[in-house]
Symmetry: D2
Subunit: 268 residues, 4 copies
């Protein structure tokens, strides 16, 4: 069935013949394998160009920062899935990735969009604090949540935020979006009436937009990072399964609020 106008598929990522695999204009076997790191290759794949030293440092730092945070919901979902279907690791990874949504991790992308809006509002030479206040005011008016601020566990600033900002500063990355992220943090009390500290989901776009990483691909960074963490958990799950123990604990105190048939629960 024809859906939409375009019928010829086009891509600029990769082509090949019997002898050569070409990725982003380079010979995979002659120029890339053994010559570039996986992080740099990811940058090349997504953007079409190799990162500079600051780009490598920042991209590595963000991937390391968010790959793993213990038995969070998506890791639990993934381990339960592997316990039920141990032959299909790909299914358990997929189940874990499906939890990288708008509430968790997905905030990286929406925070990136917020920062871009403030960036454009301020323009070159404009005042970031004013632009942040203005855009946050509009979010408030439209009842849109402010993505990337506040954390259930880390009431102070999430420690990963400063670590990421330190990397960006040390390696000489563009710090404009870090400045914007901090302007938002300072503006929040005025707009929302309470403090909400930068969390890692805001720090990620703050440093990645500074190395020119595309806004539309921001959501891919937590997904790639989490995949590494998931594989570690699934390897551990294969050695020592806890998927069903997690599920047992989770449901131990469930309250059933529906009706029961006559006689249910009576002694048998």
């Amino acid at each position: 069935m024809k859906i939409g106008k375009e019928t010829v598929p086009r891509t600029a990522i990769s082509t090949s013949d019997e002898h050569t695999i070409v990725v982003r204009g380079r010979n995979l076997c002659a120029e890339l394998i053994g010559k570039v790191s996986f992080t740099d290759y990811f940058h090349l794949l997504v953007t079409g160009r190799m990162p500079d030293a600051a780009g490598t440092a920042v991209l590595d730092a963000t991937l390391v920062a968010i790959a793993e945070h213990g038995l969070v919901p998506s890791v639990q979902a993934s381990r339960m899935t592997l316990a039920a279907a141990p032959d299909a690791m790909q299914g358990a990874v997929a189940a874990g990735i499906l939890g990288c949504g708008s509430v968790i991790l997905g905030a990286s992308e929406t925070a990136g969009r917020l920062f871009s809006e403030i960036d454009q509002r301020a323009g070159s030479g404009g005042d970031l604090a004013e632009a942040a206040l203005a855009v946050l005011g509009e979010y408030r008016l439209a009842r849109r949540p402010i993505p990337g601020y506040g954390h259930p566990l880390h009431k102070e600033r999430d420690p990963r935020v400063d670590a990421l900002f330190d990397v960006a500063r040390t390696c000489g990355a563009d710090l404009r979006f870090v400045a914007i992220a901090e302007a938002v943090e300072r503006a929040i009390p005025q707009v929302l009436g309470k403090e909400l500290k930068l969390n890692v989901s805001a720090a990620i776009p703050a440093v990645l937009l500074g190395i020119g990483f595309p806004l539309a691909a921001l959501k891919g960074v937590p997904i790639l990072a989490r995949t590494a963490g998931l594989i570690a958990h699934l390897n551990e799950e294969l050695e020592q399964s806890i998927g069903f123990a997690l599920s047992y604990q989770a449901s131990r105190e469930v309250v059933y609020e529906g009706d029961v048939p006559r006689g249910f629960g009576a002694a048998h």
Copy 2:
């Protein structure tokens, strides 16, 4: 519901308190972010230890070798999924990963199991050629396919194989499993009656087992690598959608082999 005997979940990967995130015994923010590459961190997450220089080189090379190979079936599935559900990149990545199964990519793990069997059969000092012949003979008898040999496009050895073996040799990794993989390649004509060259799915375990990467986690390497390629494709899909064009092309020549009701296809 209690399934199995274990009710207390245990993990050795990560823990945290309000101030510190611990991963594999290290302080994430103080010791890892900005200090280790994503590849090394993946190794640490999975194995509990940092790789040596050979380990880094080999793991980077394998991840780069298999991250991308154009519009393969799983990439098509992923791009079609994003075209239909553009708000949920995580869903499109998941759809792509679900194609890392026993026929495609999953062969890395099964080839790894084959090589381990030959390794143990030969023992220290044993003859690899003999052990390869013996184990292949058993596979043949049990009608099990030989995973990791032959490729639909590359009739000669997949060019990525030599690239990966070169990296393993150059960086000083243990080459025992490379030798086993080549022993299998030499034994195949005798067992199957035709030549089948090593493909990349056999080269991956051959080099990774040489750096001590765990057998059970082998399947995770293509999954992580492909996730990087999928994110690049999905970023391109968001800019220039071809998901429906791929589907249109795919179904243009479909032959319907079922019945039709009377009058179907007649002029209206």
Copy 3:
């Protein structure tokens, strides 16, 4: 980790002890198995009550209407996934379901929201045509697409629309949302400057809201229906695999728009 305020899981769907499984207040084995159809059970599971005769007729009709439409993108994605991972049917079904997104099938839910808005705008006794015009005007102003109208293949009204409306009329279901859906169809030329006929994604909420099916669960109806179609396709795929043939056709005419290394494509 504690996310959000709620720490005690609650559910009203099901509970059990060693002897009895309770679903929505009924004894599964004594009152449901062998006594209710799967369609009625689905209604009970979602809403907590058994449907009346009109409810059964409409829900069956919608599930039948959208379960299958040939080799659409999500079916292709699913069959490619099974070809690559034939041992994991659940993964292939999941890949197919992931294509039930905002562009395809998901329009059922968004069209339902549009109709509810018009319903509330008109109130009891209000004019549906006026309310439809007013709400469509607001969608137009906010540049929101009108979900559920127009179809790539069926330029006239999708034939499934009249079939579903006929069922709703014949079985005596509440027709208010059918009237709203048709009011929208009549209003579209005035608002958009062109005709767009009701498609099946609008007909589904039009008839389902008339039997009191909850708005939030509308998206689940195409998902359940498509799962039936996917299983049929995957059963066929196991007998006669076309997943790779689809992929071959899809990529035969791909245009590579990136650079190539010097010498690529020359005679070897």
Copy 4:
């Protein structure tokens, strides 16, 4: 890329032109919508023929029997996924389905294969008890688990088993595979040295094979059934989210078995 020999996709399930959608030889709008139940349509989609009355009764009963069993691991995984990504119901359904694997639910298919083997071993007129003992003995020798017997909660026969067998008896379905399933139950103590009662995963193939449902599609039945239950849970999750509460409970008593950096956990 061409994988395999087949390049022309073929299907016998559905075709369409601008006016007519054909499914299994029938006009969808004229012959199916409003005329057949979803259960019968599922049977038609998978097998190409409408079920007889016994077929309808048995298929409905199996779908009802396994659609829902409370907050089992896959439902938890699904609800956690929706809590994290509430915009993508399809992703949460997919995560739940991915838990229909070899350990849970997937046993329906493997039990079906066991029964088919016994059926063929016995042949027409052969002794089922003998054939069951012989085949179970071979499973034992090959250290293969016996799928479909025993249940973590129901130490006696799962109550759904008798309910399903009653339906098969009452509606006049072929009972040969019920007899085989019971022969296996009686043979287990002799082979394994302990009693293991038939559970629902064995009862499903026992009754479905009796209505001619294809062995290869057996795994699809629990998947379709569970999708209905998942949609009910996800609808409840959208009204009253417990995904994060489940995760909180699951991880409350996690034991961390790894190292910690010096000073971790000390008062700050």
